[in-house]
């Protein structure tokens, strides 16, 4: 696989504030890559550098092999950007917004007219193309911004928090669109919705305070946190006593007690039979598998919830 995005020791400082610190990243071509982090983690700064809107203080970044410092125009020819703010022109109709964008990309009218028709149809906006964007719902505006970003057939699509502020239904619709357009295109998205990252992304990077703190697939990140699986065991009585008993076992990584429920994190799921054997005769009411979520991973790495 070739590399679509490469960042090496990328650093961005605003006066005394370091927004990005020694950031390394590699995104494969054709993948959906998610960048997670709390507000102020540096996600938007990274996207602004990669989309050539901002220059880094030091380090280097390449998009499709082009240097962000010296080959901005070449990069902008290859990328589509869906920014956090819709940035639609409210004095132009939906179609005129797209036509302006096509002209800025140097597309010829005979090419962009058919492309606009095709995309408006695909995005379900064909019937509203003569209307002004401020008469659209939030979800429709977002779809129009995505349409605008796809117009020139980009090789890399940057989505900066594409579903922030949308209702769950619109959010799911955007996810469906993102999935439907993924293919040869590389998609780089930032989000603070963990479910979004989990649903869409092949690989996820977690950043905090301008630093990369974890990178991998959702499963790899979860495995890294727990080293295996976790179970919740509910006792009739004596949970504390049984928790003490389990704590001494080598295959048990972590124990938490909540009332009469003990949460046991195991090194591997195969250890479950050892645990059950140890609990032989104990008044167990229920055993259930507790899936670790990306939020658990996030909290364990950053010490905060994602929206904090």
């Amino acid at each position: 696989m070739s590399t679509a995005i490469l960042a090496r020791s990328l650093t961005k400082q605003y006066g005394q504030l370091t927004a990005l610190s020694d950031f390394d990243l590699e995104v494969e071509q054709g993948s959906i890559f998610g960048l997670l982090g709390p507000n102020g983690a540096g996600k938007t700064t990274l996207i602004r550098i990669l989309t050539t809107l901002m220059a880094q203080t030091s380090g280097e970044a390449f998009v499709e092999g082009h240097d962000t410092r010296t080959q901005g125009r070449e990069i902008r020819r290859l990328i589509g950007v869906v920014p956090q703010e819709n940035s639609l022109d409210r004095y132009l109709t939906a179609r005129e917004n797209l036509e302006l964008h096509a002209r800025l990309h140097g597309m010829e009218a005979r090419h962009y007219r058919s492309r606009i028709d095709e995309l408006l149809e695909l995005m379900g906006l064909a019937g509203r193309q003569r209307d002004f964007p401020d008469t659209f719902s939030g979800g429709m505006q977002r779809r129009l911004v995505v349409t605008r970003a796809l117009l020139h057939d980009p090789r890399v699509l940057f989505l900066d928090e594409p579903t922030t502020g949308l209702d769950p239904q619109s959010r799911r619709a955007v996810w469906d669109y993102v999935r439907s357009i993924a293919g040869n295109m590389t998609i780089f998205l930032t989000t603070h919705y963990l479910e979004e990252a989990e649903q869409l992304c092949d690989r996820i990077a977690i950043m905090d305070h301008g630093r990369l703190i974890a990178l991998g697939s959702t499963q790899e990140l979860k495995d890294r946190l727990t080293g295996g699986t976790a179970y919740q065991i509910e006792f009739e009585a004596g949970a504390e006593r049984y928790a003490e008993l389990l704590k001494g076992m080598t295959c048990v990584r972590e124990i938490e007690v909540e009332g009469q429920t003990v949460c046991v994190a195991l090194a591997q799921w195969e250890c479950l039979s050892e645990v059950l054997a140890a609990l032989n005769g104990a008044p167990v009411r229920r055993i259930s598998l507790r899936e670790r979520t990306l939020e658990d991973v996030f909290i364990s790495l950053t010490g905060t919830g994602v929206s904090e």
């Binding site: 920014p83 940035s87 409210r90 132009l92 005129e96 964008h101 002209r103 800025l104 605008r148």
Partner: protein, 252 residues
């Protein structure tokens, strides 16, 4: 640098102007026309001749020029501020393969075009409903002032729209700098009305060169070369400053 991006942005701005042309023109024409009727006609009997011409004729070229440069300034300053701070469309232009210079040149062209269209519209209205007349041959020399004058104010608007982040600051600058510069440059009275020590300073203002030169061109048909050069040089300098400041701001 190519002009493809500038032309696309200018075309967008002209489409929006065309769409709202009627309401824009009504708003733009009302103010200078009121001044013309109030001062030019209302005060005519009291003022008589100024520098050998009737007062209504004395102020008419200035009013047309004032409308043009005001429109150029307002369009540039508000458009740039709005697209940069409210609508974020400048950012959406910046992620396309055009340069920052193309964006700012497009915006300067739009402000300049607004100025010309609105100035000429006011000129036509004054010509149609008042006795103000001039030989058509004088128009060419007048345009030699109006074109760089509108460009100068459009660039000034771009500079203000680039550096000012708050809309109230834009209004203050207009009240404290732009309007006094226009009104004190001999638009309503001859420069000889100023105390003698002040006259060289007022003459040094580019707005004085613009309004005096424009009036001389339209009324007498003469072309004040020194004034023309001063307006053109100021337009060029503000253009360079506008492009430089906008590029600098975008690089922040």
């Amino acid at each position: 640098m190519t002009l493809r991006g500038s032309l696309a942005i200018w075309r967008r701005d002209m489409l929006v102007l065309r769409r709202n042309i009627l309401s824009e023109l009504v708003a733009v024409i009302a103010y200078p026309l009121t001044i013309y009727l109030a001062f030019g006609i209302g005060m005519k009997g009291y003022i008589g001749l100024v520098e050998g011409v009737p007062y209504s004729m004395f102020i008419a070229p200035g009013l047309i020029t004032m409308t043009a440069v005001n429109a150029a300034y307002s369009e540039s300053v508000w458009s740039l501020w709005f697209h940069r701070r409210v609508q974020f469309t400048i950012d959406s232009y910046r992620v396309t393969p055009i340069s920052v210079s193309e964006i700012v040149v497009g915006k300067i062209l739009s402000g300049f075009s607004h100025g010309l269209v609105k100035g000429l519209a006011v000129g036509l209205v004054i010509f149609a409903i008042t006795p103000f007349r001039f030989p058509p041959g004088h128009l060419l020399a007048y345009l030699a002032f109006l074109v760089p004058g509108s460009a100068f104010f459009s660039c000034a608007g771009v500079i203000c729209g680039t550096i000012m982040d708050k809309p109230e600051t834009i209004g203050k600058v207009e009240a404290v700098f732009i309007m006094p510069l226009i009104f004190m440059s001999g638009l309503f009275f001859p420069l000889s009305s100023y105390p003698a020590p002040l006259i060289p300073w007022v003459r040094a203002l580019p707005t004085t060169a613009l309004f005096e030169g424009a009036r001389q061109s339209l009324v007498s048909g003469g072309f004040a070369f020194g004034y023309g050069l001063q307006v053109a040089a100021t337009a060029l300098l503000t253009f360079i400053a506008a492009v430089w400041m906008f590029r600098r701001k975008m690089a922040e």
